[in-house]
Amino acid sequence: MKPVVIVGAGLAGLTAATYLRRHGVPVRVFEAGKNIAGLARSERDAGGFTYDFGAHFITNRLAAAVGVSASCRAMPRYGETVWLRGRTYSYPFGLMRSLPFALSAAVAKLGAPFRRTPTTADEWYRSAYGGKLAKEVAVPLTEAWSGAPANELAASVGAKFATSLPRTIMLKAAAAVTQRTVAVGYSGTVPESPHVWHVYPDGGIGAVCERLADEVRDAIQTQSPVEAIHVEAERAVGVRVAGEDIEAAGVVSTAPVHVLPKIVRGTERLAYLSRFRYRPMVFVNVKLDGPSGLPDVVTWTPGPETPFFRLSDIGAGLPWLVPAGKSLVTCDIGCQVGDATWTAPDAELGKLCVAALDKLVPGTSARYLGCRVMRTPLAYPVYRLEYEDDRKRFEQGTGIEGLVSVGRNGEFAHILMEDVYWRTRRKVMSLIGSTAPAEAVRGCP
């Protein structure tokens, strides 16, 4: 029986592989890199600091679904704060308590029925949050992580973050009553709930993928980039890996979508994807002696005075990843591959971040212990207006039978870890019916 070939052994690829195998479908997983887990992997240094590829967040529900809950701990605290010109506003209620922000938001809400549907991200933020909050917080943050002006981005950027206020209030109240870090805004595919909160594996986020990989270890081949996906009569029929052609019953791709037109052979149907762009990101992990002094686990810095737009205080949220008495702050800096930030030496990036941290928490530079820098060319999909229609078309599927594109890169969507897990399972379900032997499907494995 021909296997379903999975391109990439990150969270989405491994979720697809385990799901298919549980239904009796043979799978082969090809990973281009040396390691599995893609962006969801962890590294530990000699000093006892554990680094994830940027800050990741998972919930007790995802941990239970994957089967890693026993090695997870509840996050002792989680909160978000916006730092704006020396003032801090807790998110979202602190911002709402500010009179200028609240007034401008109220005016926007009242005027909403009389405005046309927003087309650009800029218009969307103005109509949803009001001009002042859009201009000072939402737009600069979006531009920082997208690398494009908000009026060149589609309104769907904002819609991805739309949450209902009553639900947010309910979840925050539940967090206060239960003293748990109830997750707000961390799952769009499955409902949020007062019973779903932030947890994290003992040894870093890599544990999630390692657990999934345990089920399909024998099917994973690392350092094996897929060179081609063969399509015949608009149907995926195989792949080429290291010069060898392999027949496949289906292909699940987690590759960035702009790569697909280059490797899919036998159709021009996906040519439009070559215009899609991702935002590269540099994560500067700053090690400090003593506490960071930051106001919250996540601090947003939309102002122009800092090189980063977001800080994650790993030591505060996930103390078991940091040695006692120290702290670790991940600074997210958007960039382009090859620009001054991307090519800057690590030490220089560390100094740049610490100098900026000094503005938030005076005296930080005196406690600086060093940094570790991680770079990815694929941090966020950029929803440019110029290809918004194509992006919506791609949301409906690849249009090629037996070719499913999943995961954050593969869906070209700003989806979080729990979304990746549930969405991937639903998307690859289409590959079960036609390929699974009836007996394997019958009964509980």
């Binding site: 709930s193 089920e215 702290s327 938030l360 009964g443």
Partner: protein, 346 residues
């Protein structure tokens, strides 16, 4: 208005909590968990619906996930504890192994009376020499009732997989087979009635078990199942985490009227009747689990267990009207093996 200038120092951010947990206080390690598909549909196409822990016995540090099949509506745990973990998730002091009358007092006496009446009703049309099999008989509670109040000519047998429960039942003079019914050499077309009282929800392969029950029943024989109702108001209210019926992780599947009908279909039975009797248990345990989870004092948590007469009485009064309109906290189904049928199916 927000505070001005630099962020205020927060106590929590200045001292990270200690990471090391003393060995003696460390939580029990995780169970070996295995992935499952819907046992009625054979496919995993499900939405997460509840997430919780073993609130009652704290047998492991795992968090469990209850999902609902998008095709048939079955509620099941995914993943589920592996078979070799049964000894751990059913600890020695598990209540069904040795239900001590002296611990439960008045509630026990009421429950015994009530259950005796109910059980005799299920048996009212049986002949004087009927053979009855209690599948998952635990310590033999229902067999003892039938022995005491039923017809003297009835032949009563039980089956249970747990050696501790079997030992208790045998000590009471009952005939109980030890093992999984699917592997026991029980005669085909032999029994007039099978009972599965609060059993089917504990089984990892209910379809396989029911097919075996069908094999050992006489043509036209019946099986009476009693199980938690996952279509009841207490379920809807507490389904996110604290519902007593979850009994994490000891109820790998949970049924509604419609999924019980489907269970009958795929196991080769005809559904004769499904009703929803009243029961205070899941209401009480839902409240108990919520209080326990949210750190209420022990004395308050312990007011909501099987041992608490006021709670049992209050929730009985509460569930009684619900049961009259078909929304009681438990389900009772009668399945019949077709009188004219082809052999096999196990």
């Amino acid at each position: 208005m927000p505070s001005a200038v630099a962020p205020p120092p927060r106590e929590l951010s200045t001292t990270p909590p200690p990471v090391e947990v003393p060995r003696a206080l460390a939580p029990p390690p995780g169970l070996h968990l295995v992935p499952k598909v819907c046992c009625l549909c054979g496919v995993e196409d499900a939405d997460p619906i509840g997430v919780g822990e073993d609130f009652e016995y704290r047998t492991s540090s795992d968090t469990f996930l209850a999902v609902r099949c998008r095709r048939c509506g079955l509620i099941y745990l995914n993943p589920q504890p592996a078979d070799e973990e049964m000894g751990r998730i059913y600890p020695d002091h598990y209540h069904a192994f040795d239900f001590k009358p002296e611990e439960f007092g008045f509630v026990y006496r009421v429950r015994r009376r009530l259950e005796a009446r109910r059980a005799l009703k299920w048996c009212h049309d049986l002949p004087a020499d009927a053979r009855i099999l209690d599948v998952g008989c635990g310590d033999g509670f229902h067999l003892r009732l039938l022995k005491e109040f039923g017809k003297p000519g009835w032949s009563l047998e039980g089956v249970d997989t747990d050696p501790r429960a079997v030992a208790h039942a045998r000590a009471a003079g009952l005939t109980v087979h030890h093992g999984n019914i699917q592997e026991l050499p029980l005669p085909a077309d032999h029994y007039h009635l099978a009972l599965m009282v609060m059993t089917v929800e504990h089984m990892t392969d209910p379809v396989g078990v029911l097919r075996t029950v069908r094999r050992v029943l006489k043509p036209g024989g019946k099986v009476v199942l009693v199980t938690d109702n996952a279509g009841s108001p207490d379920f809807w209210l507490f389904r996110g985490r604290h519902w007593g019926g979850y009994h994490f992780p000891r109820h790998p599947q949970l049924f509604t009227k419609s999924t019980l009908r489907k269970l009958a279909d795929v196991s080769g039975f005809e559904t004769e009747r499904i009703v929803t009797p009243f029961s205070p248990v899941n209401w009480a345990y839902s409240v108990r689990n919520l209080l326990d989870d949210w750190g209420a004092p022990r004395w308050l948590v312990n007011r909501f267990t099987l041992k608490s007469t006021p709670a049992m009485a209050a929730f009985t009064l509460f569930d009684l009207p619900l049961s009259l309109v078909g929304c009681g906290a438990i389900l009772r189904a009668t399945f019949r093996k077709p009188a004219e049928e082809t052999r096999g199916g196990a």
